[in-house]
């Protein structure tokens, strides 16, 4: 049984349909990257998994359980943590308080406050700073650290590199191996294909709400990706 099974996902916003029959299986321990251009439906897919967009109950199965109708806060309790595009840190709370709120679900495990500070040393000296005063890269590190505080089985990372300088992106991706080694299954959405290829065991490429390519980075050539990415 896969950790996450998506069947015929057709989510959207109101009358706007963004996804057209997505099927996806994620195995426990796998690192899976979804790539694609702007508007391909990548974020919509993650939002359907974390519960911000509800769908038919059976269409999202997590560890064998149908969760498509479950609200987001209950999915956190099951072990799904979503690090949203645009970070969404709590601006008036300090870094330490952001992390404490991240642990609200009381799921215990490997990740504790000390462990995430170890993972992102740059956050360690910012503990008492309010999150709004952090730089974009620091906020992204905080958002990921906060997401880990619920000790998720499945971590959803949405556009980690968006709006960040390449040096900063490198720094944040340095944390990835430790997250993967901890046994957490990672599903990440990236526009930066290079980063995605480096870390993912498997890659799905999306185009206008449909899957157009799937495979492991070793199997697929950059020409195939180029073609799938732009739909040529």
């Amino acid at each position: 049984m896969s950790l996450l099974e998506l069947t015929d996902i057709c989510s959207g916003y109101g009358h706007f349909q963004a996804l057209f029959g997505i099927n996806l299986r994620i195995e426990e321990g796998e690192t899976h990257a979804v790539i694609g251009a702007n508007g391909a439906g990548k974020s919509t897919l993650l939002r359907t998994i974390c519960g911000l967009i509800p769908t038919d109950s059976d269409k999202v199965r997590f560890d064998g359980q149908s969760i498509g109708q479950l609200p987001p806060h209950k999915r956190v309790g099951l072990g799904i943590s979503y690090v949203p595009e645009g970070r969404w840190v709590f601006p008036s709370l300090t870094v330490a308080e952001n992390l404490m709120v991240g642990a609200h679900s009381r799921r215990t495990g490997l990740w504790t406050m000390d462990k995430v500070y170890e993972l992102f040393p740059l956050l360690s000296r910012l503990r008492q700073r309010q999150a709004f005063s952090l730089s974009g890269g620091e906020q992204q590190a905080l958002a990921i650290a906060r997401g880990l505080m619920s000790n998720p089985r499945l971590l959803l990372l949405d556009e980690v590199s968006l709006g960040l300088a390449p040096v900063v992106v490198e720094k944040i991706y340095e944390a990835m191996p430790a997250i993967v080694e901890s046994g957490t299954t990672v599903l990440l959405v990236e526009q930066d294909v290079g980063q995605a290829m480096k870390f993912a065991d498997r890659i799905t490429c999306m185009l206008e709400g449909r899957q157009v390519l799937e495979g492991s980075p070793g199997e697929i050539s950059s020409e195939e990706i180029f073609a799938a990415y732009f739909g040529v």
Binding site: C50, L52, P71, P72, H73, K74, V76, G77, S81, Y82, P84, W88, V89, F90, P91, S92, L93, E97, N98, M100, V101, G102, H104, S105, Q130, F132, R146, S150
Partner: protein
């Protein structure tokens, strides 16, 4: 010295306004709900106290804990049973729902207790005072009121700053959707926020009942003063509501001193002046 007395009386009155304003500010901060029934909730608490006093024949101070518990439970159920759904429909629908609740409360109180003014009799403390000089006199009860409101605000600050639920309140105020993604059940949280707000306004209602008289239609007045206190202090600032209440209190007392009956007018004018020159309030939180 006459003016010193005015300022002292104004500060003491401000404590009472702060008790009404704190819950209003909390509810707006956490769930962006403009609660037009807040004054009526306070008046309702005074009537609940009246009923308990009538049947047990005890001092209204002793009813306080019970009234707070009743109002908190009522607030939680009202939020979970009605206001959460109104808020789903939209912010305007939610305001209208609270407006409707205000009218229902007023009319039910009218039906049950007539339009006659009622008062709560707290005994000797009502008239006890400390004489500082011939012109400066501090009443024990107003002093108790402001001490209580400082304790309440301090307690609220500790709750918001130090507890898991308090942090969840602030996280939700910052970004409700992100808070949900942390496992926070916002519908339960909103219920808790309303419960806390109504427990605090219950104190304000009982204190007003002891200080003056109240009638079923007294709520909207309380609401206006509470709103003015919140806006003067700055939205989202706890201690700002106390300062806002105090400024309003001083303005009213001084207005009445200049000419009997001008108190309210001067209070509103000071509020309008602050709105014109510092619309974000005196202690607005600066975030982003």
């Amino acid at each position: 010295m006459v003016w010193v007395n005015d300022i002292i009386q104004g500060i003491l009155l401000g404590g009472l306004y702060a008790l009404f304003a704190a819950g209003l500010s909390l509810v707006f901060g956490v769930m962006r709900l403009v609660n037009l029934a807040h004054g009526d909730f306070g008046v309702m608490a005074a009537y609940i106290s009246l009923v308990i006093v009538g049947s047990l024949n005890i001092n209204p101070f002793y009813t306080l804990i019970l009234v707070m518990i009743v109002m908190a439970i009522f607030g939680y159920l009202l939020q979970r049973g009605l206001l959460n759904y109104a808020m789903d429909a939209g912010p305007l629908q939610a305001i209208l729902a609270t407006f409707g609740i205000a009218i229902i409360i007023q009319n039910l109180l009218l039906e049950g207790f007539t339009a006659n003014s009622k008062g709560l009799d707290a005994g000797v403390i009502e008239n006890a005072f400390i004489r500082i000089s011939d012109q400066v006199v501090i009443g024990w009860f107003p002093l108790l009121t402001i001490i209580t409101s400082v304790i309440v605000l301090f307690g609220l600050q500790l709750f918001l700053g130090r507890t898991r639920m308090g942090r969840a309140f602030r996280a939700t105020a910052d970004n409700q959707r992100a808070a949900q993604l942390m496992g926070i059940d916002n519908r339960h949280l909103y219920g808790m926020a309303m419960a806390v707000a109504l427990a605090i306004v219950a104190i304000g209602g009982v204190f007003i009942g002891i200080r003056t008289t109240f009638s079923p239609s007294a709520g909207p007045f309380r609401l206006i003063f509470a709103y003015e206190a919140v806006i003067i202090g700055g939205l989202g600032s706890l201690w700002g509501t106390l300062v806002g209440g105090i400024i309003l209190g001083i303005a009213q007392v001084m207005g009445d001193h200049i000419q009997q009956g001008w108190g309210m007018l001067v209070g509103h004018l000071v509020f309008l002046a602050i709105l014109a020159f510092r619309p974000q309030g005196l202690f607005a939180k600066q975030v982003q």
